[in-house]
Amino acid sequence: MPGKETIINIEGLSQFYGEKQVLHDINLYVRRGEFITLLGPSGCGKTTLLRLIAGFLQPTEGRILLDGKDISVLPPHKRPLNTVFQRYALFPHLDVYDNVAFGLKLAGVPEDEIQKRVKKMLKLVSMSDYESRNVDSLSGGQQQRVAIARALVNRPKVLLLDEPLSALDLKMRKDMQIELKEMHKKLGITFIYVTHDQEEALTLSDTIVVMNEGRIQQIGTPIDIYNEPVNAFVADFIGESNILKGRMMRDYRVAFIKHEFDCVDAGFGEDVTVDVVVRPEDIYFTNDPAKCQFKATVNSCTFKGVHYEMWVDTDTGYELMIQDYDPYPVGSEVMLYIDPDDIQVMKKERRANTYPAKVLGEGKVEFLDTEFSCDTSGFAEGEEVMATIRFEKVDLLDHEEEADLTGNVVFILYMGDHYHLTVKTETGENIWVDTNDIWDKGDFVGIKILPKDIKLSKPVAGNE
């Protein structure tokens, strides 16, 4: 709902680096005074988006509006925004005072006002005693404070922060998080914050924008994002979770790990496959057989500071992670239950791999820029069709010989009894694979699909 209360509107923003598209049609608005975080793994496009807002990049498509005015064509020095850089980028030839005063001097602010504002800002970041210090002599945390002061002293309409705390150690990072949050409250300036640290995002933000592969996955408050992730990627990326295949039996009733549970979700339809997320702290132990929904054996138990992290094998052969304040001995049989409230049901994003394909001839078909053999009876040569391959029918090989094509494992999801992998082929297409084998992210794999596992169908109208 863009309107008066929004300060930044991003409309249909796409960005290409050469052939490679790094942002896909980003639409986003930022409310005045909001602390919004762009969160995602490295390479998801969050920094590119921030650099587009700052003006260091020109968008390939789309616009960025600030207070309703298109700023996407303005060079960075004409945008009323300031950035806190990941590596601080403090000028090494200037002392702390001159670094902070840099922007004000350029703007031609009178000397006595510069002095007042710089001193006030240094006080805000608790760096008053360091005015004439060389910036190289400061610690990482102190440099970070100066960098924040240097940006804030110009009273920007929006402050952009590019992973500002990533170079600090854990303790310092926690302290700075609290200070940033307080500064934001005190100054009322809109903050756009980029991080790959989900905990940081949950702590700081009013709104989190989860990104992956150049697309926005979910926008919401930290609590929404944590409790109601819209897809497996978000569930996996934010916090710990058990992500499982499920089946919606009917409204308010879902089956997974071969047991049926009451839930609070409805509207999926009857007998529909879904993904289910259960947070590890939402699986409870009980001694009451009446409450018990399923049994399991404790497989491992690790002390994590506040809680214990346990892996259990259910009586139906699934592995689940549970977090609890009390440990249960390894090997012991336990009774477990899950509250209906704590079961998050998600629409399945895809049920099988489907690709537009072309019949090359008798028994030959082409998709993913590769030729495959399969049964083509009923289809004419040159016909455009859809090829469907079930996730578990794709074989991954650790060598290129015998493989139909090759790719890299880009995302791994443990689904309780198998892994769901996303493999990116060399032409940039995704193949999803269900497997029991253990692969690592980044592994180079050969992909093999048997002719009998490729099912062809007529393309559905309106579906690509």
Binding site: P75, H77, L81, F85, A89, F91, P92, H93, F102, A107
Partner: protein, 258 residues
């Protein structure tokens, strides 16, 4: 002495034989007369001889002019070479070293011939041209190195704080590249003072530089006076180096010729 420090022994012997000893000889020769008696005669001769002094002055003047010329041409060249947008390939950088693969004397002779062919009279202009041609790479490289290694986020931070491209250069890029400029100055200024071949070929010895008179004295077996002149030059080198050392202290690492 531990075992490791023994490895330094060959270097130590080298230093003594080829650095310390020759320096000592220069000092001894400077303060003795032909018969080997201690004397200040060589130094007083220099400071009372109008010819020597004016040659010295001309040398310094030419060196300053050449250094300024090299900065004027070298800085923009280095800036363009270091800019990935203007110069996407590193090949261009190699092109700048290529002339240095040819012996400097041959290049100078060839330059002189070119001037002769074109009918341009040899003189101060041709001298400066030759010097600039010979020493320009020594100015470009250190500056290029510093600019090339400079974190791009400094320029971005300046833009972000409201600096126009011109202001970014004046207030950030230029000050941060000064260590490279100082290295370049060192590598151009001192050799220019002491060079004699370039002035000989490119001015037909019409303009004599300090290096020329040292060479003449040594050639004519006036070892003591030649040594005294060398010593004076050494002192100047020493002073400039100290001056430069003070300048770049604590600043980002200066560029060194690769």
């Amino acid at each position: 002495m531990n075992k490791r420090s023994r490895w330094a022994l060959p270097y130590f012997i080298f230093l003594v034989l080829f650095v310390a000893l020759p320096l000592l000889l220069i000092v001894i020769y400077s303060f003795t007369d032909g018969a080997g008696h201690f004397s200040f005669a060589n130094l007083t001769k220099f400071f009372s001889d109008g010819n020597s002094l004016s040659t010295f002055a001309v040398s310094i003047e030419v060196a300053i002019e050449n250094t300024l010329l090299c900065i004027l041409i070298g800085y923009p060249a280095a800036y363009i070479l270091a800019d990935k947008k203007l110069n996407p390939s590193a090949v261009t950088v190699v092109l700048f070293i290529l002339p240095m693969w040819i012996n400097a004397l041959m290049r100078t002779l060839a330059t002189a011939e070119l001037f002769n062919m074109a009918g341009i009279p040899l003189g101060k202009g041709t001298l400066l041209f030759g010097m600039c041609y010979d020493y320009l790479p020594f100015m470009i490289y250190p500056i290029y190195n510093v600019l090339n290694k400079m974190d791009k986020s400094y320029a971005e931070a300046a833009q972000d704080l409201g600096a126009t491209p011109g202001e970014v250069f004046r207030k950030v890029t230029l000050p941060l590249s000064l260590p490279g400029v100082w290295s370049g100055v060192m590598m151009v200024f001192m050799p220019t003072v002491s060079t004699f071949a370039i002035s000989e070929f490119l001015t037909n010895n019409k303009i004599k530089l300090f290096g020329t008179i040292i060479q003449e004295n040594i050639n004519n077996s006036m070892w003591n006076y030649g040594a005294a002149l060398s010593l004076i030059m050494l002192v100047i080198i020493g002073i400039t180096t100290l001056f430069q050392g003070g300048k770049s202290e604590g600043e980002a690492s200066g560029g060194v010729l690769i």
